[in-house]
Symmetry: C2
């Protein structure tokens, strides 16, 4: 429900906020756990995402993890958070619209094209085998920013199957381990990007299944956001994505 | 010049980066200087903005200031930076387009409307007298975020006149002093938002003079940007703008 009139309108506070405790061990981050344990955690991600998505008043389910105080973590015990919002977030809308524009232009999923071109270029790939690909994006905003894409085209993380969950646990543990080795246990944010709730997309983006592709972004916190970034939306990244990928690949 | 083909394209590095040293005193921030001194600094802002804008290869001139390491300052001596970019930045484009949409709908400048409605509401105004108004915006992203708008409609900071520079020096010094008092000398980013170069806007936004309105945003750094913010573009602000404005007004 929107309250207020004219320029000043506010949305009623409705949503979900869940905290997933990843392990009883206080000093073990997600990437330090056994493969079975990580598989269980990502299984919980899926179960909760499905359960929340069953309630249509929530238009977007966001799964994210903050590690370290510099990355905004207010709890030091390893945890992941799930938030659901009653509207489609600004950045998700931008991604969906940019995916749609690209798909309307050439009939292909932009994310599938990125997977193909990154595989060919190879120099930014951190790990390419199995059902997922991890790479440092061409226009990485942050040093050692790493994305994980499922090779199978699918708009929503909640639709992940059991075999893919095995692969996800494996690559997530691997990538987090590489970041920890190369960057000495860095603070980071991890964000799952997925399509909004189908009830939201049916009207605005009825063909979203064709052009959106869920993925994970891991953003190590090594630089500060300052006036230039806030004013422009551009980011200053002092390391080339190719060099960052090579460090991670060789770790 | 754009290099590369397909998905992976890069822009040649061309631009301007200038650093304005605000004072010989290492431990005095902009808000601590005398009124005449602040007037001289904002006069330098204008002179450099005009001079850079005379070169049409720079599409946007950004003036900003980072105070304190948490705000991304890498020099501790008080300074302001000016960057010019060969393209219109993402966030500037968003502001311009949103201003245009609003103006096409009702024929009025969105920013002039905000000034009017904030004056009427009064509860978010920090200081309203003179040629500028300082207020905490209705949808403040950060605690104690404060904007300074010129009351005279003008798209570009570079077009500011001498009398307005006097008023700007006065309100800037006043607002920075209030923030320092209330928040115990906080780190902050200060960003001047102005219209892109006329050569850029002539084609895309020929009527920009009517709908864009330059302004300054001051963003104290009291919270961390984390997974939720990166994933959604939304911000969690733990203090209401009305309460923040009251603290600043009463300081």
């Amino acid at each position: 429900v929107i309250r207020g009139t004219g320029l000043f309108q506010a949305l009623d506070g409705i949503g979900v906020h869940e905290v997933i405790i990843e392990s009883p061990a206080h000093d073990r981050d997600l990437g330090d756990l056994s493969l079975d344990h990580v598989r269980e955690v990502v299984g919980v991600y899926r179960d909760r995402a499905r359960s929340i998505a069953a309630e249509p008043q929530y238009r977007y389910v966001q799964i994210f993890k903050n590690k370290g105080p510099e990355a905004g973590a207010t709890l030091s015990h390893p945890h992941t958070q799930i938030l659901a919002t009653p509207i489609v977030p600004k950045r998700v809308r931008e991604e969906v619209e940019s995916g749609e524009r690209s798909w309307r232009a050439d009939g292909r999923c932009l994310y599938c094209r990125i997977i193909g071109e990154e595989e060919t270029a190879a120099e930014r790939v951190v790990r390419g085998s199995g059902p997922f690909m991890a790479f440092v994006p061409f226009a990485a905003r942050f040093p050692f920013e790493t994305h994980i894409y499922p090779k199978r085209h699918a708009p929503s993380f909640a639709g992940i199957d059991d075999r893919e969950l095995d692969g996800l646990a494996e690559i997530l543990r691997d990538v987090l381990g590489r970041l920890k080795t190369v960057l000495s246990d860095p603070p980071y944010n991890l964000v799952v990007h997925q399509a909004p709730h189908p009830d939201s997309t049916r009207v605005e983006w009825p063909e979203i299944e064709s052009f959106y592709h869920w993925h994970i972004e891991i953003l190590p916190v090594l630089t500060k956001i300052a006036g230039f970034e806030w004013g422009t939306g551009f980011h200053i990244n002092p390391i080339s994505p190719e060099l960052a990928a090579r460090f991670l690949r060789e770790a």
